[in-house]
């Protein structure tokens, strides 16, 4: 087994171990989870830094038989798009495990589900076989229902149900699309029928997808994955889900799971069906543009901290959709980088909101005031997340948004203008939030709040350092992403 299979296996084995531990040993359970996710983080760092972008293509490839009769193999590998995603997942699950130390209710089941979910996420990012990708995708989505419905807050049953139903509906579309690809390759030429992503993007196989086929099945795949990416107007599960979910689940959910959707859009929809992408991109680009502005404005009107962040995620994922749909190299690379940057910043946001909610038992912005005085670390970390969110240079979000905007200006200048305006709106609501809740006269009601705990501090510091490092020196990320976006854009015939 190589790095990649260990990355998938480590959380899974940890989940099994945790299930075997007695319920009383809560601290052992926490430590096992933290250790397993720490190992995963280290492994994903190995993969990230071991990826040779000069060579490009899929690396660390492993291959195992699975269901040979149907041509399904367990093939793992990462390219320049999935390697940053693997790293992102590693970071978020490690910090998420640290943050979750305070979960007291059914610790065992919580961690087991969390780790299984993460195995699924890694499976999606690493798998080179569409069938296994879909399989892992479902593993990643379904534990979410339990995690939200059992450990959540604020209308948790409703949110969990809505989330699950919408995501499963999306995955039904995806499944239809995947089967169509499979059948189409099999129908046209005997023996080629395949779930293999590399094979599907092979130019010889690509000829098997006639234009009408692409036109029909591209939107299925794109919308299906787009639901998980909270693409407007299929986004309403996301603010509710984020609000209802427990802290670490929100982190994983907004930080990683939404990226699965965008990743699927890139890998399968745009990557495999280029002609469909050309035809449909303007529509989805419009969706993305609407989402970015509309999400920002909606966030401005929210009163609940988590809702603000939830809508800001909709807005930021709108940029990702825009970036993908520009079908330009700069835009697509920016979108992938934005997936990484947003994953980190939103994980940071949710970690901090969780820290404050657990003490204050409220997330109402209006009733907080002057927190900066007593919670300097909390406010400092939150401010960094907020600044990354409004695209401050020096933090990762800026580079990502810059590239997305440049890609958009290359292809659809007017949309580019809208997107830039959305950033200004983002600045407004983030600063309003901070000015309201953190500044102003200190409200003695909150004198009992303590600043971030050591475990939360470590988690937040990791995320902040990542944000700064990726913002100041984005070259490794971008070279890597670039090496794998270029073939996709070449197939689509987009702007290089």
């Amino acid at each position: 087994m190589g790095y990649l299979s260990w990355i998938i296996a480590a959380p899974f084995i940890a989940a099994l171990t945790i299930m075997a531990l007695p319920r009383r040993w809560a601290w052992s359970i926490r430590l096992v989870a933290a250790a397993a996710s720490g190992i995963t983080l280290v492994l994903s760092l190995f993969v990230f830094f071991g990826y040779d972008w000069r060579a490009g293509g899929f690396q660390f490839v492993e291959s195992y038989e699975w269901i040979p009769a149907l041509g399904i193999r367990l093939r793992l590998g990462v390219d320049g798009i999935s390697a940053p995603m693997v790293l992102l997942t590693g970071i978020v699950i490690f910090t998420g495990s640290l943050i979750s130390f305070k979960i007291r209710d059914r610790t065992k089941e919580y961690y087991a589900l969390l780790l299984v979910l993460v195995s699924g996420v890694f499976g999606v990012f690493e798998s080179l076989d569409v069938f296994f990708l879909f399989f892992a995708y479902e593993i990643a989505v379904l534990p979410m229902y339990l995690l939200i419905a059992v450990w959540g807050s604020t209308r948790k049953e409703y949110a969990a149900m809505k989330l699950t139903v919408m995501l499963v509906a999306g995955s039904v579309l995806v499944w239809i699309g995947i089967l169509a690809l499979y059948v189409q390759t099999g129908a046209s030429q005997a023996g080629i029928s395949s779930f293999d992503i590399e094979a599907l993007t092979n130019p010889r196989v690509q000829q098997l997808f006639p234009r009408t086929f692409q036109l029909v099945f591209f939107p299925l795949l794109f919308i299906g994955f787009g639901v998980l990416a909270a693409m407007w107007p299929f986004h309403t599960w996301s603010p509710d889900g984020h609000v209802a979910a427990p802290t670490a689940v929100s982190m994983l959910h907004a930080g990683v799971l939404m990226k699965l959707g965008a990743y699927g859009c890139i890998r399968l929809a745009v990557g495999v069906l280029p002609e469909g992408a050309q035809a449909w991109a303007p529509l989805f680009l419009a969706f993305g543009a609407v989402a970015s502005l509309y999400g920002a404005f909606s966030a401005m009107a929210q009163r609940d901290l988590k809702f603000v962040i939830g809508y800001s995620s909709v807005s930021h994922m709108g940029y990702v959709i825009i970036g993908i749909c520009t079908l330009s190299l700069v835009g697509l690379s920016g979108a992938v980088f934005q997936m990484f940057a947003h994953g980190i910043m939103t994980a940071l946001f949710f970690a901090l909101v969780g820290a404050i909610y657990d003490q204050a038992h409220t997330r109402e912005i209006g009733i907080f005031s002057g927190l900066a005085r007593t919670l300097p670390w909390f406010v400092g970390f939150f401010a960094i997340a907020g600044l990354a969110s409004l695209g401050l240079p020096g933090l990762a979000g800026f580079i990502a948004e810059l590239l997305i905007f440049l890609g958009t200006f290359q292809t659809y200048p007017l949309v580019g203008v809208l997107a830039v305006v959305a950033v200004a709106v983002t600045a407004t609501y983030i600063l309003r939030l901070m000015a309201r809740a953190f500044f102003g006269p200190f409200n003695p009601r909150w004198s009992g709040l303590h600043d971030v705990l050591p475990n939360e501090w470590v988690a937040a510091a990791i995320l902040v350092v990542t944000l700064i490092a990726a913002g100041v020196y984005p070259a490794p990320f971008l070279s890597m992403i670039d090496s794998s976006s270029a073939p996709i854009i070449e197939r689509v015939g987009g702007v290089r």
Binding site: M300, A301, P393, A427, P474
Partner: protein, 704 residues
């Protein structure tokens, strides 16, 4: 010259050192101040080295090739222009630094003023419990500004541009516990961000045309005509919008007076060499872009002209000493922008250069005054910034008084102080370009400037010691048009007893540890704190800055000794002799302004309230700053927040309840109805099953 990058890096290093290491130590305040000041002094040292290099270079080249070739070719050095910062596809994004006379000049001004202002802050901020944080952010601010002036790539410039905005947000909101300060900080950031939208779009346009953010490549492309004219014009106007936001030009000026909420050293820094200068610097830096489009130049000149006169009129009626200076800054920035817009490139930047010194000095003096007024007016409900409650400080604060006067006279443009030379250069430039409107506006503004500056001087330093009876007047005594006098106070105060005030009430939280003992000391009934000269750490920088404030302009005496015009110019250097007519007109006009202020506020021959009463509408409009804040507030409440509420409502009511919950509800309702089909009768199921089979069979038979 190759070490220019050290300047911003030193300051950034100081910031990180302070945030990560200093704050953990028990002597964090001292250490962070020490580190910050050492870093900025280091940056100043870097400037000196770079400057001497550049000078040697210039002299060497001039000796070899003649003066004309010197500046363009040899004094511009690009650093880091070969290795990209990052790369996407065929586009490389460099982090190039440019070292030419413009950036060297800015390097000097920024590091010199930052250094002195930081020294001054030691005194001004003493006792604040976030002292260390203040110095850390000051370092970051200096780093961002130094990076900004060195950036040779528009993207890099934009990076530092935003960082400057962030630092101003942090510093303006430094005393965040007062709601107004937090709001002011937010306003500064958001307003400048609106301008930045334009800047970004403009830069993106240029990028699309040229495929690079490198300044020299873009300028070459413009010069070679490789960019379509309409793009040049559009991009020019859009990029200028960034400067409008940063430099507080009309109509995005509203944040700048509010930015006075920050500690006074911050105001001094923001308003002299850093934040607001960034906008003017951008116009100067990107001048080849603007110069290529007459429309853009006209736009810039128009905005500058409007701002110059508009802000000067507001400054006439303000009572807050910092606001007077703030509007003065806006007006002077308008002056510079106007100069650049009419094509007087050297004059505009020259004025920025001289203005940086005397405006920094003015703010530091104001800070000194406020610092001493704070304990005096404490607990009276009066702002220590209010000139109506000052008066007679001349003898109590002689250093502050004299430096303030020097700076004011310089700002008013009286021969031979530095303001005279730069203002005169602008007026002469406008005249030379045949721009009559800017010229006339410039002259009128000069008059207004002299008037309001001396109004401030007379109210602050001359006349009665009005702070003595400040406590007697109720906090909100209506609209005071004229400063109260000993004679008028009893009427205003009514029956209120001067002595009934209890000291120590409503102490602002940030001043608590420092002010409390001082108050206790002066809490003896009838014995108030009295204004006094500031400590030497504050006074010394005043004296030091007073020197360049007075004489910095001498390096730009036209026709006599003019290295400035030689070094910083656009196109060929043109020798312009001092125009005696323009010079005498501007000096006479300024003297007239001073005279009017004298007869109104020192020797009240003309009563200001009489004038105000005769045109009450005009007076109120000016006093309320043309109601811009109210208009924007309306815009925000009625448009932006309404849009936000609309979006949120649509999301919940239409998309969530309509598109998402409705199908869910329908499914549930359908289940509620359909379950009665489940009769429990097996034969009915069988029959339904048969019907289905028959249908399928029929389909197969009919549509083979």
């Amino acid at each position: 010259m190759e070490y220019a990058w050290l300047a911003p890096v030193l300051c950034a290093g100081a910031f990180f050192f302070n945030v990560i290491i200093s704050r953990q130590t028990p002597w964090k305040h001292r250490l962070s101040a020490l580190v910050s000041i050492a870093a900025i002094l280091g940056a100043f040292g870097v400037f000196l080295v770079v400057f001497s290099d550049a000078l040697a270079n210039l002299l060497g080249t001039a000796a070899a090739h003649g003066a004309a070739a010197a500046v363009d070719d040899r004094s511009r050095h690009l650093l880091f222009d070969d290795e990209p910062w990052f790369q996407v596809g065929r586009y490389a994004f460099q982090a190039t630094l440019v070292v030419d006379w413009l950036s060297v000049m800015m390097l000097g001004v920024v590091s010199f003023l930052s250094a002195l202002i930081q020294v001054y802050s030691i005194g001004y901020m003493r006792g604040d419990n976030r002292f260390w944080w203040f110095f850390s952010v000051m370092s970051l601010f200096s780093a961002a500004m130094l990076g900004l002036v060195l950036a040779g790539n528009f993207l890099l410039l934009y990076v530092f541009w935003e960082l400057v905005g962030l630092c101003s947000f942090l510093l303006i909101g430094f005393w965040y516990q007062e709601r107004d300060n937090a709001e002011a900080a937010k306003k500064a950031f958001v307003t400048t961000r609106i301008g930045d939208v334009g800047l970004f779009i403009g830069l993106a346009l240029l990028f699309l045309q040229t495929g690079t953010f490198q300044m020299n490549e873009i300028f070459d492309a413009i010069a070679a005509g490789r960019i379509e004219p309409w793009v040049v014009t559009t991009a020019g106007i859009l990029v200028f919008l960034g400067a409008v936001g940063k430099s507080g030009q009309f109509p995005l000026h509203v944040w700048l007076p509010d930015a006075m909420a920050g500690p006074t050293p911050v105001s001094a820094l923001i308003h002299s060499a850093t934040m607001v200068a960034a906008g003017v610097y951008l116009v100067g830096r990107a001048f080849p872009l603007f110069a290529a489009s007459d429309v853009a130049m006209g736009f810039i000149a128009t905005i500058g002209t409007i701002t110059a006169i508009f802000a000067a009129t507001i400054a006439l009626t303000q009572r807050d000493i910092k606001k007077i200076l703030a509007y003065s800054t806006i007006s002077q920035l308008g002056y510079m922008i106007m100069a650049l817009g009419v094509g007087a490139y050297t004059a505009g930047l020259f004025h920025m250069f001289t203005h940086a010194f005397f405006k920094a000095l003015l703010f530091l003096c104001a800070g000194s005054v406020i610092h001493s007024m704070e304990p005096v007016l404490h607990g009276t409900g009066k702002s220590p910034n209010d000139v109506f409650w000052m008066g007679g400080l001349r003898r109590r604060m002689p250093v502050t008084f004299w430096t303030f006067v020097i700076a004011s006279v310089s700002l008013a443009g009286i021969f031979p102080l530095s303001g005279f030379w730069s203002k005169d250069a602008i007026l002469a430039g406008a005249l030379a370009e045949g721009a009559w409107v800017p010229f006339i506006v410039g002259v009128v503004t000069a008059f207004l400037t002299a008037f309001y500056m001396f109004r401030a001087i007379y109210l602050t330093f001359f006349g009665e010691e009005r702070w003595r009876f400040a406590a007697a007047v109720p906090p909100h005594a209506g609209l005071l048009v004229v400063a109260p006098t000993a004679a008028s106070v009893p009427a205003a105060a009514g029956a209120m007893d001067v002595q009934t005030r209890r000291p120590g009430e409503d102490v602002p939280a940030h001043l608590e540890p420092e002010v409390r003992p001082a108050l206790e000391e002066h809490a003896v009934p009838g014995h108030h704190a009295e204004p006094h000269e500031s400590p030497w750490v504050m006074a010394l920088p005043l004296v030091i800055i007073a020197i360049p404030a007075a004489i910095a302009g001498w390096i730009g005496i036209p026709g006599l000794f003019d290295p400035f015009a030689e070094a910083i110019r656009f196109g060929p250097a043109h020798e312009e002799a001092l125009s005696p007519v323009v010079a005498s007109v501007s000096v006479l006009v300024a003297l007239a302004g001073i005279g009017l202020a004298t007869v109104m506020y020192w020797r009240p021959i003309i009563r200001p309230d009489a004038i105000a009463d005769s045109v009450p509408g005009a007076y109120r409009t000016l006093y309320n700053k043309y109601y811009f804040d109210e208009a924007y507030q309306w815009l925000i409440n009625r448009v932006v927040l309404a849009l936000a509420a609309l979006a949120a409502t649509i999301d919940r009511k239409v998309i969530n309840n309509g598109i998402v919950d409705t199908p869910a509800g329908l499914t549930g309702a359908a289940g509620e109805r359909l379950r009665y089909l489940e009769t429990g009768r097996v034969y009915q199921y069988a029959f339904a099953f048969i019907v289905g089979i028959v249908l399928i069979g029929l389909i197969i038979v009919l549509f083979p």
